[in-house]
Symmetry: C2
Subunit: 230 residues, 2 copies
């Protein structure tokens, strides 16, 4: 951001970035305008400006990096340095899934997967299939976008699909607004997790068959003690 | 680290942290001594010191956070503030999987999973089952720890298991030492990925059925263009 002329992003993220700005032009937009935002960032960059498109978490995880590249490909813009070319750099960040995990304890210490429950761009059949495979293979499962206004049945349905292959007392960690104002953390069991308040700013982590709760922490063992300490 | 008295970790990570230190005591150890290192960190903390145990990437992803908590539970140490209690905080970081993804383009923009190929602590049957389920469910698949000295058949075997459910031309991004000295990036197709040089510092990302290569970037579309732009 320090080296950019223009900072562009969803209003919430631009506001979070403001303390770091040093006079850059700021363009903020509404949540649902991902394509417009990416197109605007591209247009500004092609006009010669250095543009920082900001996301929350890591821009490569369900965020804007791919939207930019999809547009670059559609317009067939050559990447790289030089005239009529575009230099694109993705700066990684701390994704919501590991920020939430850190607050919960250490739930991601074995194989895990991330699944978005938003069926706005992905048919529910594909999402449901992924949930079932992930549950059968005993992955720790992180759910992104569990619920939104007007989309409320996918979250309990996802828990039911996973519950068909995992014990009711499996630990479930739920973190909203990790490391931001309004942060909320709760630790439940799978059979009661459907009752939790969740929204688009919530990350839900369902433990695997080995995950346990100790004190107020959720831990998925790596297995050292089981192996070396019998 | 700034608020700690002692910094402890695997030598490579402690060396990376050195420029940030301001007089802390430093304890470094060998790679394979995870349990000893965690025990030493716990002992120092229980003796009253403020201890920073450093990992590469994110300490919650195949790293030291869970090892510490497993020991805390085994010794039945009460967590929290106060006498004979221990305060444990996990500070999240940029995990190798998203650092590598950023260098490759945007391969993680849809549902993905992380699978470690190390069968030192996990039976190969479980790892193989996860690979097959992940491939069937069309997850983007990130492989941690693909190969080590004395462990060389798991990586080609993993590619073969995924290849049974995914096209030979599926993009595979391979990043070693992401954002560190000696960084190496290559972009191949699934049918040729077994030939790549990989080791314990390498992250391998296998695309899903929609992942494409554009220029020198690997991109998994989120689907906006497909939905809104027909």
């Amino acid at each position: 951001m320090a080296g950019s002329d223009t900072v562009i992003g969803y209003k919430t993220y631009v506001d979070l970035a403001k303390p770091l700005l040093t006079g850059q032009e700021v363009v903020s937009s509404r949540m649902t305008q991902e394509l417009d935002r990416a197109a605007q960032a591209l247009d500004l960059a092609l006009s010669g400006r250095r543009v920082a498109l900001v996301s929350g978490g890591d821009p490569g995880v369900y965020a804007m990096a791919a939207v930019v590249y999809e547009l670059v490909k559609k317009r067939n813009i050559a990447l790289g340095a030089g005239k009529d070319r575009l230099q694109v750099e993705v700066v990684p960040g701390v994704p919501a899934v590991t920020a939430s995990a850190a607050l919960l304890g250490a739930p991601l210490s074995h194989d895990f997967c991330c699944i978005s429950l938003s069926d706005r761009l992905t048919p529910w059949e594909i999402i449901a299939d992924r949930l079932t495979h992930a549950a059968q293979a005993d992955f720790v499962i992180a759910l992104y976008n569990p619920k939104s206004r007007g989309r409320d049945w996918q979250y309990p349905e996802a828990l039911a699909l996973v519950g068909a292959h995992r014990k009711p007392e499996t630990p479930v960690g739920i973190v909203s607004r990790a490391m931001r104002e309004g942060q909320r953390i709760s630790l439940l069991r799978l059979h009661e997790a459907a009752e939790a308040q969740v929204d688009m700013q919530t990350l839900v982590i369902i433990g695997n068959s080995q995950t346990f709760i100790f004190g107020d922490r959720m831990i998925t063992p790596r297995g050292y003690l089981a192996k070396y300490d019998k």
